[in-house]
Amino acid sequence: MNRLLRILALLAFVPVLARAAPEPIKVGALFSVTGPAAFLGAPEARTLEMRVQELNAKGGIAGRPVQLVLKDTGASPEKAVSFARQLIEEEKVFAIIGPSTSGESMAVKALAEEGKTLLLSAAAAEAIVNPVLPHVFKVAPRDSYAVEVLFQRMKKMGITRIGFLSSNTGFGKGGKEQVERLAPQYGITLAVNDVYDKNATDLTAEVTKLKAASVQAILNWSIEPAQSIVVKNARQIGLTVPIFQSHGFANLQYVKAAGSAAEGVIFPASRIVVADQLQAGNPQKPVVEAYRKAYEARYGEDVSTFGGHAWDAFGILVQAIEQVGPDRVKVRAAVENMKGFVGTAGIFNFSPTDHNGLDIGAFELCTVKNGRFAPLGG
């Protein structure tokens, strides 16, 4: 008899147990950890893993732990699609962070929409959110803002004739399209508009071509080592004109690589790179400093803007879930209408027509002073 009672008691107890261990919120991630875009995906993956562990240490979201399902796409669209389908159809993840590159984001965009799964892309291309798809967002600032900030400064400096170089990667192409589109509006002519190979080991011939075209300034758009090579080669052949770089240059690793040649280079950067020099009142200061301290303490390498995208995407997702609870439809709407989210890339103000949420204010012109990043005053 008492055996029966014990079984009944056990049965009664089980549901309680079931409730005690809450079912985790699955978050999918698609980063190109290896392959040609490793310097985008690797920091993004490390950042996301760090944030998920930190969050779970503090009890997860409203008590439910976050389970991260991370896949390395190696920057190839066919893998991104295969993994995206796994995340959406099998793992039934709540949301997907990534992919790292524009090519992959365009490939998985339709899948996320069809699978009604929130996608927070870390890539920059405008076409990801233009035209808008309800479930597709991106957390990287538009290339056009970076170009506009640069062109505004060039106009102020009276520069009208520049030599433009870009690499044959997704990043380079994104920048090239915006530069070509916006240059006429700022009265700037591209005396040279050349694309070089991302594996370029020496670009002296390239910069010689710029010297031949006697340009007033150089603008380079790439994120590979080539961006440091361009700066060095230009200075080595005696080109003293001002050099402008893309927001890809906001990575201390490349400044160190360019060494003294990087002095005075002007580039747009999200405030993450100049965190320590931000005035106390700047709302982004606490966020970027928290990220920088945590990342550099844990991984012992300089923080990068691209890692910041993963930090922002996860932050936006967590804030939305905390606001409206783990309901897909409500969270999507929460993200779409989220205002004033302070991220490393800037202050996000999403809207049904703007799934990027950043404005030109996301960028601040910076320069390099004796090997350190510094806001460009004046």
């Binding site: 896949k71 390395d72 669209p77 893998k79 699609v81 295969s82 365009m106 339709a110």
Partner: protein
């Protein structure tokens, strides 16, 4: 028959049974989503089968197979995503529309575009790849050994460089938004989870067809001539085999199969990127043929099915390339005739110290 084992049609029937069994198993176990990776694996298997015929049977190495895949894929992607609705009125375009060459299609954002009919894309894609294969093959197949390896590697790298460097091909981002390919009434390559089972059977149906055709070919007069070329090219020529022409024809056939796979997989995935034309992809195809055994279609098919499926499932994680590199080395060191032909007889002889004779590939 001169060759041990079942004739090709019987084996293909076995394959068909296996294909259906796998589908039912995934359905029963609630893992229907495996079909996505299995479908993609099926298309990649077509490339490996073509390469197995070229490398395993005719003995001609190619490090450029991904180049032909990309030519097919990019042709289909480019033709199916261009929007010529603006020129709709022009006589040529109007005629093409009436002939069904151009088809209107709703795009993702509610608008309609007028693009090229996917069937035309398939024909043009495979035709272009075959033409390029002929043009490259005639001079290059006179080379042997590492010269041939390097020439095909150079060809593959050229295709990759052009794909990455061309603005109209989406440069580094590649081309996305490729519409599904309506192939039979109610069956279309691509589309979402609703079409999953149909796509699976379509892909593996093509694989079964390829196995039947190549299985027959390998056992036919032409197949024998190919293996003769691999064995001793001079002797084959003395027996009346026009080795040069035969090698080019197999090179073009393998390229056409790779291009067809490129077209169909691009429609299934909905896009293609320059990563499909990379040297590493070509090396993976070579690895799968090597694992399956030089001169063994069934070996190549099983190697492709297992390795590609695991890779697409992300089982190898960030070490995907390392796994294929490692496999390539291990197979070439210990089982140059492939794991499947490494039968007990081979092992026994190795233990007894006598070199194992080259296993007879089926």
């Amino acid at each position: 028959m001169t060759r041990p084992g079942l004739p090709a049609p019987a084996r293909v029937a076995l394959l068909a049974v296996a294909v259906v069994a796998v589908q039912l198993a995934t359905q029963a176990s609630g893992r229907g989503f495996y079909l996505t990776q299995l479908t993609m694996t099926g298309y990649y298997a077509l490339v490996v089968l073509g390469l197995s015929l070229l490398m395993g049977y005719a003995g001609q190495i190619s490090l450029g197979q991904a180049g032909f895949f990309a030519i097919g894929g990019y042709a289909a992607a480019f033709l199916s995503t261009i929007d010529v609705s603006a020129q709709r009125a022009l006589p040529a375009f109007a005629l093409a529309t009436r002939m069904g060459l151009l088809v209107a299609r709703p795009d993702l954002y509610g608008g309609t575009t007028l693009g090229v009919n996917p069937w035309a894309g398939l024909v043009l894609g495979v035709g272009l790849a075959s033409g390029v294969a002929f043009a490259v093959g005639v001079p290059v197949l006179r080379l042997r050994g590492h010269y041939l390896a390097m020439a095909t590697l150079a060809f593959g790298t050229i295709v990759s460089a052009v794909a990455v460097g061309t603005q109209r091909l989406g440069a580094a981002d590649g081309i996305s938004g490729v519409p599904p390919f309506p192939i039979l009434p109610g069956v279309r390559i691509g589309g979402g989870s609703a079409d999953r089972v149909a796509n699976y059977y379509l892909a593996w149906g093509l694989v079964a067809l390829a196995m039947l055709l190549l299985g027959n070919l390998v056992r036919s007069r032409t197949g024998r001539a190919l293996r003769a070329i691999h064995g001793a090219e001079d002797a084959a020529r003395a027996m009346g085999v026009d080795a040069a022409r035969m090698k080019v024809r197999v090179f073009v056939l393998a390229a056409a199969m790779a291009a067809a796979a490129g077209v169909l997989l691009t429609h299934y995935v909905g896009g293609i990127g320059p990563s499909e034309a990379s040297v590493m992809k070509s090396v993976r195809y070579v690895a799968m043929v090597a694992v399956g055994g030089m001169g063994s279609l069934w070996g190549a098919l099983s190697a492709a099915a297992v390795l590609e499926f695991l890779s697409l499932r992300g089982v190898f994680g960030a070490h995907d390339d390392a796994v294929f590199g490692g496999i390539l080395v291990l197979v070439m060191l210990f089982a140059p005739d492939g794991i499947l032909s490494f039968r007990a007889r081979g092992i026994v002889e190795k233990l007894r110290g006598r070199p194992a004779r080259p296993g007879e590939g089926t």
